[in-house]
């Protein structure tokens, strides 16, 4: 027996299902697709970043600073007599999506180079695409060491100080503290674990009697903080190292202060002094933590004050570290194009190697042998500032990259080990 055929569907009062509607859609679709590349006049730069998804909370102030840098260069007549145009693409926090955009930008829009990315795995994926297709990629924010070391290559550069640098800076300071019993909590994710490994290795080197009493690796983005805090309290560490990311940190900090964990242990947090992490917590931010971060409110260099003022005017908000990195990334790119005198990939690579760039935080340079910039980070302690309505960093110092980056020989060893 055949099953009965249903009556054709007329959806309610709106009989939408009809040939004209269908045909109209097909035509509209065909019209949209072949919108190819337009005039080739401006210098085009492809920018891939996570504007939605897990890292979405970080990328908007970054983008605003990039737009500011582009507006400035164009106001001054552009580069090599051409306007600069940045094409922003959303990778949705997904590396495969980032590759699709890289393909579109490089083959479709014919961009001169790729820049951006925030998440480590996205950064590595785009970097591998760049290697395969011999396209320049200037990574802005991804923190994984692998990008410039074990998986580094001719076409990849990175601006921000990586997990290794920041972990080391914290370890140097932590070694001077009297704490021996340590615990760690971080996301069960490349960044969280790497950020801990360098710190711990260096701390043990400097202070061999430290011991690890507990480690916790909650799923990224899904922390249930109460349970971890009880567990940490029961292990009675004297100090806790935190590499929690984004929303996990916020949930953890709120719960930890209610449960008295901040009073019972000293806290060290990588990145946690950055405005990205401090601002959402407002006056609930914990005090007295040793952190790396970005005390933009206290940096007195005139060039930096100028940057902050410009950014506040442009974006109607205060800068975060992402804004600074975004600005520096594009300053470096512009400088490299200017020095290369063309947008030829090989010439730009040659120009970037060893390139020195004057930035709002002083000169940085790109090391020729590993393509890591010497941008440093600020190390300090957190404190609440009622006037600003949130946490700030005090007793901070700027540690330049040169002080903590490995030597050329060490880098070569890491690259060889990865082969």
């Amino acid at each position: 027996m055949r099953h009965p055929l249903p009556r054709p569907i007329r959806s309610g009062k709106l009989a939408l299902a009809s040939w004209p509607v269908f045909g109209g859609l097909v035509v509209a679709f065909l019209l949209v697709i072949p919108s190819g590349a337009g005039a080739q006049q401006p210098i085009r730069i492809g920018e891939v970043n996570s504007y939605t998804g897990i890292a979405a909370g970080f990328t908007l102030p970054y983008r605003q600073a990039v737009e500011m840098a582009v507006e400035e260069i164009n106001a001054g007549g552009g580069l090599l007599g051409r306007r600069v145009e940045v094409l922003f693409r959303d990778d949705k926090g997904n590396p495969a999506e980032a590759i699709t955009h890289a393909q579109e930008l490089v083959f479709g829009e014919k961009v001169a180079l790729l820049a951006g990315t925030f998440l480590s795995n996205v950064g590595l994926a785009v970097s591998d695409f760049a290697r395969q297709n011999k396209v320049l990629f200037v990574a802005a924010e991804p923190l994984t060491e692998a990008l410039t070391w074990s998986r580094g290559h001719r076409y990849a550069f990175r601006v921000r100080p990586n997990t290794h640098s920041q972990g080391r800076m914290l370890a140097e300071r932590a070694a001077k503290l009297p704490y021996k019993r340590w615990a760690v909590i971080g996301p069960n994710y490349e960044y969280g674990r790497r950020a801990w490994e360098t710190f711990w290795a260096r701390l043990k080197e400097l202070k061999p009697d430290v011991q690890l009493v507990g480690e916790h690796w909650p799923t990224l983005g899904k922390i249930e903080p109460g349970g971890y805090i009880t567990a940490l309290l029961s292990q009675q560490p004297q100090a806790v190292y935190v590499s929690l990311f984004g929303s996990d940190w916020i949930a953890f900090a709120r719960e930890a202060s209610k449960r008295g964990l901040f009073q019972k242990a000293f806290f060290v947090g990588i990145l946690l002094g950055e405005p990205e992490y401090m601002e959402p917590l407002k006056l609930e931010a914990p005090e007295g933590m040793l952190v790396t971060g970005y005390p933009w409110y206290d940096i007195q260099a005139p060039a930096h004050k100028d940057f902050v003022a410009k950014f506040q005017k442009r974006a109607d908000r205060t800068p975060v570290v992402g804004s600074l990195v975004g600005y520096l990334t594009f300053q470096s790119i512009f400088e490299a194009i200017r020095k290369a005198g063309s947008t030829d990939t090989e010439k730009m690579v040659a120009a970037l190697e060893g390139l020195k760039v004057e930035t709002p935080i002083g000169p940085i340079s790109f090391r020729p042998f590993d393509h890591q910039s010497t941008m440093g980070a600020w190390v300090g302690t957190t404190k609440l500032d009622a006037r600003r309505g949130g946490g700030i960093m005090v007793n901070w110092e700027y540690v330049p990259g040169e002080k903590v980056l490995p030597s050329e020989a060490e880098v070569r060893k890491m690259r060889e080990a990865a082969q």
């Binding site: 054709p8 922003f88 490349e190 249930e224």
Partner: protein, 617 residues
Amino acid sequence: MALFIVQLLTGLANAMFLFLVASGLSLIFGVTRIVNFAHGSFYMLAAYLASSLAAALPLGPASFYAAVVLAPLGVALLGGLIEVCLLRRIYRAPELYQVLLTFAVVLVIGDAVKFFWGTENRTGPSPPGLSGSVPILGQLFPTYDLAILLLGPLLALGLWWVLHRTRWGILIRAATSDREMVGALGVNQAWLFTGVFVLGTWLAGLAGALQMPRVALTTVMDSTVIVETFVVVVIGGMGSAFGALLGAVLIGVLQAFGILWLPREFQLAIIFILMAAVLILRPWGLLGRPETESGTAGEALRREVGGRLRPPRWVWAGILLALMVLPSLLPTFYVWVLVEILAFALFAGSLQLLVGTGGMLSFGHAAYFGLGAYGAALLMKQAALPMPVAFLLAPLVAAAAALFFGAFCVRLSGVYFAMLTLAFAQIAFAVVHQWYDFTGGDNGILGVWPAASLAAPVRYYYLALLAAVCGLSALWRVTGSPFGYTLRAARDHPRRCQAVGVNVRSHRLLAFGVAGFFAGLGGAVFAFAKGSVFPDYLSMPMSVQSLVMVLLGGIHALAGAPVGAAVYKLLDIVITKYTGYWQAVLGGILVFLVVAFPHGLVGFVQARWARMRASLG
């Protein structure tokens, strides 16, 4: 001991939130049979709404509590509107299309939150009077969590009263057991559906609003909560509000103690292992009822619309010719887009064999796509095989996994089948994500580029085209073969089928393996096109994407999957290129397409074609 008790209380407090969200989802599913992906979005929306209301209301300390009451009501109202304006239009279409519609709602609400509140992480206000903590056995415990521990059981009691002591509640329970009977007795189903939808979204909204002092408000709150909610609902029993309570308590407590005792490699997988175990041992959940023959998700899959469209040979030849010539006319980027579409056409086409022909709804098909991709990458990188060999062997990896997981899945049907596929996919995802030494963990495997002789975009395109043409025609052959007809018979009347001596399970298992094989082939095509593989390939959003493609094309239309894949991918790429609000635009277009073509695009053409032919005589 103190540790034990405090940890238990912590787990129970988390469980109360899970219970609120899950009971809402469970009630909605029980009555309307909709697997509502938008449930988490209502939760997220309420949290944001409540935090803004708390800041804006001029009531002093009371504004927090006013916001907690008002925000869920607002969200419930929105839920009601969506039910009346959108879902109700297509109740006569296969139920799966309502899933597609809820997915579109997820996208639109996601962008609405982004638009109104921005993407930066936020914290909600603290509850006045409850923001401190009290010592319990020497450990500080947040007062607010204690209040939640009291409120949760009260709400459960209230829900019990509504369901068991009011006429409306009795109707809800009746509809959960036998929807058609309730309709036959003259109950106005439309309003019953709306009412349940409003109640369900209110519960989700309440959970969201109550969460605001505890967690960070983020734009990914929706997806984080929805998967866990599925687990709770399945463990408790779909459609049972008290099952949701039991499931939530189990999960909450298990997670709390897992922190103390489980190695980290298992923490991602543990709740899905539990979910799979429950589904295997007691498919209808702890407090659910075994499903009756009618009312399964399979029922809706039976209705095939119109005649089969059999275009003459020259049409196929023309399409093939166009696909052969196209890459030399298109810019390089679009060649890569075509490659991606071909990969997804295989992925969606294989899912269509399961869902359309086999009536087996899978929420975890990405597992086989992803394992195909990983198979290719690992065979090349770890086993050092040449790329073409890895490419050819990869689908076998996926097929083997499909046969293994399928052996458990095919014992179930309907939504339980779907949930078990989801559980296995999540387990596979967790393994790939955590096995750093072998799979590279969340960093994935890089450098998976095609062999030098195939690396040029156009050459790789021809390889992908060859794979897709062979794969899709094989799938269509399978559908049209006696095996395919038996599958269809098993879909429409499993019992009669069994009665005439067909081994329904082994047929379904074979179909599952075949679908896994071709999904894996799609995965291999995709892996070499991207040059890298990542755990995301096995993730739930990927599974949902493949389902969206199949539905967009039409589940019963042979050409539906490739057309759906092409339309979805092109829409996605074109929209993302032109606007940051791609989710809202894509969601809006999906809503329109679902309402306009409730049987998919190709399904629509087929039905019209059949009518035209009939009228011509």
